[in-house]
């Protein structure tokens, strides 16, 4: 009897789950799936995943309906190069190899830039260490889940972590602080100061990593044989590089010039690892074939150039040319402000490079997903994928398009109407708190006055 009751309870619980499964249907919109065409139709979301996409879908009873009539639904934007959501400096610029540091340790879910990126349609971002070091810190992919309290809830679970490399002017100049020789605060200049030195730093670091890897292999072999040996030291700096050698950590390399791109490909080939993405890669169009052969992706700017000498040869056709040569190309922001309008960055590629509208949008959705190794989860609207979507009122490549709603894991994280109507409420709330504080201050001041001893002549008594 008891067992019967228990199983009955279990059944009830099960049916409760299915009854209250969170189902959302986005209806009547122009669905830009990226991978499966664009059409007027609907998307069915169940428990955070897309379950059906089509012109006609079955609407389950009790589903939450989002009417996207006259609007455009596309996959959430993915920024392959961002520095938001971190607390403190994102450059551990004191050393030329800073692979011991990890963006994951300083994720800050309260950074307002997350909300602004979200409001610009971004649902995932590759958060990178800065470019002050030949080998920089560890990186992490996040979802822009604004409102979560804990840093760990920002993390894109299951996404392969990365590491930042940087070539060219930034790593060679960052350590060479201008100072008077012999001054009290004089510091030793940081090596390297040339592009040759940058290559050397990377090679030396991987020499160390290989030796370290061998030490641990030897130790483990000895332990397995029952020998008595003290363990080698764990080195966080080299741990990350061993992970690169083992293909467990993606290399995202900041670069501009063709020569340094080719240099890094040679280094990677020599040491037997892969560059996952070249970042910025402004002269990528010159060496697109080599990038494609290495199997690397390219994440570039749409039309920024000539802001420094090593960006002199940049052209707005870069993305289109690399794409035509078979490279997976994405467009990134590298900037909290530009991050809010990556859709119009994609539009520039249509204008300059003659890339199709769908391919251009893929450069801010599906292609960056591929570059980050999460294309089975996000980047297009397909059954089985995470329901990360953005709804625009106009075509997303239009200057006039405004983000109306953004969903991550099927949950609405941004709603333009709510934001606008909520502003007055927020102001009122703020005023209330300030008034309360003011009243308290006044009360204390009065009390102090009351309690203060009255002045009287010293000999009054």
């Amino acid at each position: 009897m008891k067992r019967f009751l228990l199983s009955f309870a279990a059944l009830a619980a099960l049916s409760a789950v299915s009854m209250f499964a969170e189902v959302t249907v986005i209806q009547n919109g122009t669905i830009i799936t990226i991978t499966k065409g664009t059409f007027k139709g609907s998307v069915v979301i169940r428990d955070g995943k897309v379950v059906e996409v089509g012109e006609k879908v079955m609407v389950p009873p009790g589903a939450t309906i989002i009417d996207a009539g006259g609007q455009f639904v596309m996959p959430g934007i993915i920024d392959c190069h961002s520095h938001i959501a971190g607390e403190g400096n994102i450059n551990e610029g004191s050393v030329s190899v800073s692979s011991m540091v990890d963006i994951k340790d300083i994720l800050n879910p309260e950074d307002i830039a997350i909300y602004r990126a979200l409001a610009g349609g971004v649902t995932s971002a590759n958060i990178l260490h800065g470019s002050a070091n030949a080998i920089g810190g560890r990186t992490i992919v996040i979802k822009t889940r604004w409102g979560v309290e804990r840093a760990k809830d920002l993390v894109f679970e299951g996404a392969t972590p990365g590491i930042k490399f940087a070539l060219g002017e930034n790593p060679k100049r960052s350590g060479n602080v201008q100072q008077t020789p012999g001054a009290a605060n004089a510091r030793p200049a940081r090596y390297p100061a040339t592009r040759m030195g940058v290559e050397d730093v990377i090679r030396e670091a991987f020499n160390d990593a290989k030796a370290y890897q061998a030490d641990w292999k030897e130790y483990n072999a000895k332990v397995a044989k029952g020998e008595r040996v003290a363990p080698p030291r764990r080195d966080l700096k080299l741990d990350a590089l061993v992970e690169v050698l083992e293909g467990k950590r993606f290399v995202h390399a900041h670069c501009y010039r063709a020569d340094e791109i080719l240099m890094l490909i040679r280094v990677a080939d020599d040491y037997g690892f892969k560059i996952r993405t070249f970042q910025h890669v402004l002269e990528g169009y010159k060496v697109a074939k080599e990038i494609q052969q290495h199997g690397a992706g390219a994440s570039t700017f749409s039309d920024w150039w000539a802001y420094k000498l090593e960006a002199w040869d940049a052209i707005p056709f870069n993305a289109a040319i690399m794409q035509k040569k078979g490279v997976t190309v994405s467009l990134n922001s590298d900037d909290a402000e530009l991050m809010r309008r990556l859709n119009t960055e994609a539009a520039k590629v249509v204008k300059y490079g003659g890339v199709s509208e769908n391919e251009a949008l893929a450069m801010v959705t599906y292609n960056p997903a591929k570059q980050l190794g999460v294309e089975n989860r996000v980047g297009s609207i397909e059954p089985g994928k995470d329901a990360d979507m953005v709804i625009y009122d106009k075509h997303p490549l239009s200057n006039y398009a405004k983000v109306q709603k953004v969903l991550i894991d099927g949950k609405v994280y941004f709603e333009r109407d709510k934001d606008m109507s909520g502003r007055a409420l927020k102001d009122a709330e703020k005023k209330k708190l300030l008034d309360k504080e003011k009243q308290e201050q006044d009360r204390q001041r009065n009390e102090q006055k009351k309690n203060a001893p009255t002045r009287r002549p010293a000999n009054a008594e």
Partner: protein, 462 residues
Amino acid sequence: MKTVLALLLCASGLLAETPSAIAIRNAKVVPVSGPVLQKGTVVLKNGLIEAVGENAAIPADAWVIDGEGLTVYPGLVDGLSTIGLPGFGPATPAAAAGRGGGGGGQRQAAAQTTTPAPFARGPEDRPQTSSWLRAADQIDASDRRIETARNSGYTSSVTFPTRGIFAGQGAVIALAGNERAGSMVIAAPVGQYVSTQPTGGFGGGFPNALFGVISYIRQIYLDADQYQKAKAMYAADPRGMARPPYDRALEGVIESPRILMPGRHFVEIDRNILLAKEFKQSLVLYGGHDGYRAADLLKQGGTTVLVSLKWPERARDADPDENQTMKEITLRDKAPSTPAVLAKAGVKFAFYTDGVEGRANVYKAVRKAIENGLSFDAALKAMTLSPAEIFGVSDRLGSIEKGKIANIIVTKGDLFQDKTEVKYIFVDGVKYEPAPEEPPAGAGGRPGGAPTTPNDNQGGNQ
């Protein structure tokens, strides 16, 4: 030993006579660890609490204080401070030349135990680390803050060196006016003070960013783990094995029973709970103002919190037209409710002064927590028994119990009130009279903090 001490005190003219026992009778006794006695007697002998009770026997030779209308509390404990380490500001670690004092209070400017390493190229250079530095070795009895704190009712403090990433090891000290600093130490080491504040500038050595500091702390714990394993193996059989190099930075970390890390805002609280768990360290967070948001996290992790009594306030000279964020306004509004929230959630916490000085200021800060929902009893506990528990000394400190250290205060009126008069302060059974809140500027000759005998007072001796 006690006789020697008494003789010394006599020689320096501070004490005319030392009573063998002191009894406070007919007073309201608030033991904190047990129910309040409306009319009780507390007997102090040889620096310890000899007896507590409604009918506790008063030894024949005891000096008796009539406690009619007075209340006896355990002496307050400052949960975290640099009291006893004068001038402990942000600079390179400095250490006193030797232990034991003897110089009559005026110590020489501290000698460096370490050569400053302004430029570190990585964790191997042990940047901003003085984990081996022990507060117990550095106590300077002439620190004027000892008397200031005592006047507010504090009879002990948890004192830590606070410079650098691994700043050093703390000690629980009695706020006595002892000539010998060593006799002030109640327990040491009681933990390692860790700061995550990067101090290196760009081009100025590792680490220069928060995540650099965190990676350094993580590397230290990995190194300590390996160091301990290698040392144990070597100790077991040194033959045929290269000896592990001695590393004082790791020694200091290993001998610390717990770590203190900042927990000033929610994200930091969350982060440092996770880090301490990763490092397998028992964690005490300091700061705690955002704790009202983090009660669940703190409860789950069994984390204890030192809550700063320096409540966030808007700067007096702030531009009134300046736009303030909702975050800062909310923190100012909610921070004082943190103690009440933590108490309700069952999170162990203690107060620390964090630079708030003077009886009026300290009590006002405590009242602010009480006005925001904390019970008087909980507030008192957070300033007595809880800090003792957090630092593992509740077997000797923090409440009025037989056998514990005779650190108690006697007040006229309830504690923490604006007009509370602290009448007597006993540290290690030695009686001190609090100075007036604002000592007259011209009274240069007054011997600061000199213990007095009970018969100096109207309290009466029989």
